[in-house]
């Protein structure tokens, strides 16, 4: 992690606007976006500048996309409005607008997402991210009739030598920091609506932030009736330890209970499974396994929900059961070949 240090005289609105257009030698567009994303740096009319950049036709698509993502951090409401107004975007603007609407938009924004996915910059990743944005809107707002969840190829259960883990309750102070990190991603989350659990994973402490409705029968009945964002998995930044949202836990009703899926914030599924009511509907029992993709471990996660609390435990492999992918050798990219 390294911040860019820009002299105060370069932080003027005109200088930053020129940099974003690639029209000055004192700063690149990438540096300008990086500085604008840093709330600790005082840039006059920051949000206006970002908003204008998103809408500008003469700014590179990558810079416009980065500006929209930065705006989503500094002024979420303005970012949603800017995303709705995007027309004929390039790929990066389309991806930024789709991500903004999925995470921060309203239930009617599925139409705007569909329009962006049908625009001029349709690539496989735009289609995939748009699918996920619509899924996210459906789960955030409990929109029914989402169809059957797709079945995913899962990694087999780990052996007995895999690392065992079990959740613990988190103290009020620790939970407050974790909830604050989740609010950066989902502003509506609070201690009133969610409970926080901690799980020791190797040297790191990850946290589960789960809907409080799980703890009572009426709340569970509601969750069994419509798609929901059941919770979040928060992991520490590997460099400075600050927590951030790593996974979303999505639930969708099935004939016998819930289909569960933990996805990255970009939508790729990481764990998948089911939950079913326990005897007399006094709780829920869930089982999840790792989705087969490069770098995935063998993993079995169990969750038990009852009136007295939530417990999550299981086993996870230390190393990948499915090997990570190996990038292609590219000799023309070697610095030694060019010097």
């Amino acid at each position: 992690m390294m911040y860019l240090d820009v002299p105060a005289e370069r932080l003027q609105r005109d200088t930053m606007a020129a940099a974003l257009r690639g029209a000055t030698a004192v700063m690149t567009a990438g540096e300008a976006v990086s500085v604008l994303s840093n709330a600790a740096v005082d840039v006059p009319e920051r949000d206006d500048l970002l908003d204008e950049t998103v809408a500008a036709d003469d700014v590179a698509d990558t810079v416009r996309g980065a500006a929209l993502r930065a705006l989503a951090r500094t002024a979420p409401d303005r970012a949603v409005a800017a995303a709705r107004n995007v027309r004929d975007p390039g790929e990066q603007v389309a991806l930024a607008a789709i991500a903004t609407l999925g995470r921060l938009g309203g239930p009617a924004d599925a139409a705007a997402v569909a329009r962006l996915a049908g625009g001029t910059a349709v690539t496989p990743v735009v289609v995939a991210r748009a699918d996920f944005a619509r899924t996210l809107l459906a789960h955030r707002f409990g929109l029914k009739n989402q169809g059957e969840p797709p079945s995913l190829d899962l990694v087999a259960e780990p052996g007995s030598t895999a690392d065992a883990f079990v959740s613990n309750a988190t103290g009020v102070t620790g939970a407050s920091a974790i909830l604050a990190a989740v609010r950066d991603w989902a502003p509506e989350v609070s201690g009133e609506t969610h409970v926080v659990l901690a799980i020791a994973c190797r040297e790191q402490l990850i946290h589960l932030v789960l809907r409080r409705e799980l703890l009572d029968a009426q709340g569970r009945t509601g969750l069994l009736a419509a798609p929901a964002v059941l919770g979040f998995v928060v992991s520490p930044n590997p460099e400075h330890g600050n927590p951030g949202v790593a996974l979303l836990v999505l639930s969708q009703p099935t004939a016998v209970g819930l289909a569960l899926k933990a996805t990255r914030t970009t939508g790729e599924p990481v764990y998948s499974g089911t939950a079913e009511p326990t005897a007399n509907s006094a709780g829920l029992a869930a089982d999840l396994y790792a989705v087969r993709r490069p770098g995935a471990p063998a993993c079995h996660i169990r969750g038990l929900v009852s009136e007295t609390g939530i417990e999550v435990f299981g086993r996870s492999g230390h190393t990948a059961a499915i090997p990570p992918r190996v990038p292609e050798r590219r000799p023309e990219g070697d610095p030694s070949k060019r010097s």
């Binding site: 390294m2 690149t28 540096e31 976006v33 991806l95 994973c201 790593a246 970009t266 770098g295 990219g333």
Partner: protein, 180 residues
């Protein structure tokens, strides 16, 4: 002389221009100079690529968790530091690396098994050696002249940033450092 191998992984290869490659060259050269002053040879810098389609949107990083997932899904076998180069890492910082990165690049999430470096013009010559320093065990340092100071001038380093004797001992203890 002790040495450490480095791999360069261009994420979204098609997006990199000739100018970008020149920025990478300068950053690699700066990295060698920085570590050479404390008697370490940073070598290799073999280039690898992930195409735009295969990168599945991770050519442009939008959060620290995306950087973590990128390194967990791709790796180059062997004892070299994997440096993932991206054109944009949205947010106030220009890179991310674990402090004392793992020796086992097949470790799964939440481990991060490489460093991610954003191309930020001339300042990349400070960001790349800084993030490699983290992977090799160095934490931030309060001296603005030190490589591990938490910010770099947007114009990049104009003189070679410092590393201390104590920092060289830390690097020597990392499993990716080969001692003579």
């Amino acid at each position: 002389m002790p040495h450490v191998a480095v791999n360069l992984i261009y994420v979204g290869w098609e997006n990199f221009t000739t100018d970008d490659l020149a920025v990478v060259d300068a950053a690699c050269w700066a990295t060698r100079q920085v570590y050479w002053q404390i008697g370490f040879d940073m070598f290799g810098f073999d280039a690898y690529s992930i195409g735009v389609t295969d990168a599945q949107g991770y050519s442009y990083i939008d959060s620290d968790s995306e950087a973590q997932w990128l390194t967990s899904e791709w790796t180059i076998p062997g004892n070299a530091v994997d440096v993932f180069l991206v054109k944009s890492y949205v947010g106030p910082t220009a890179g991310l690396s674990p402090v004392k990165g793992t020796c086992n690049k097949y470790e799964t999430w939440p481990s991060m098994t490489g460093a991610v470096v954003e191309l930020v013009g001339p300042a990349t010559n400070g960001v790349m050696p800084h993030e490699i320093g983290h992977y090799l065990g160095l934490d931030h340092d309060g001296d603005p002249a030190n490589l591990m100071y938490r910010s770099v001038d947007a114009g990049g380093f104009t003189s070679v940033p410092l590393l201390t004797f104590g920092q060289s001992l830390t690097i020597a203890q990392h499993c990716f450092t080969t001692l003579p």
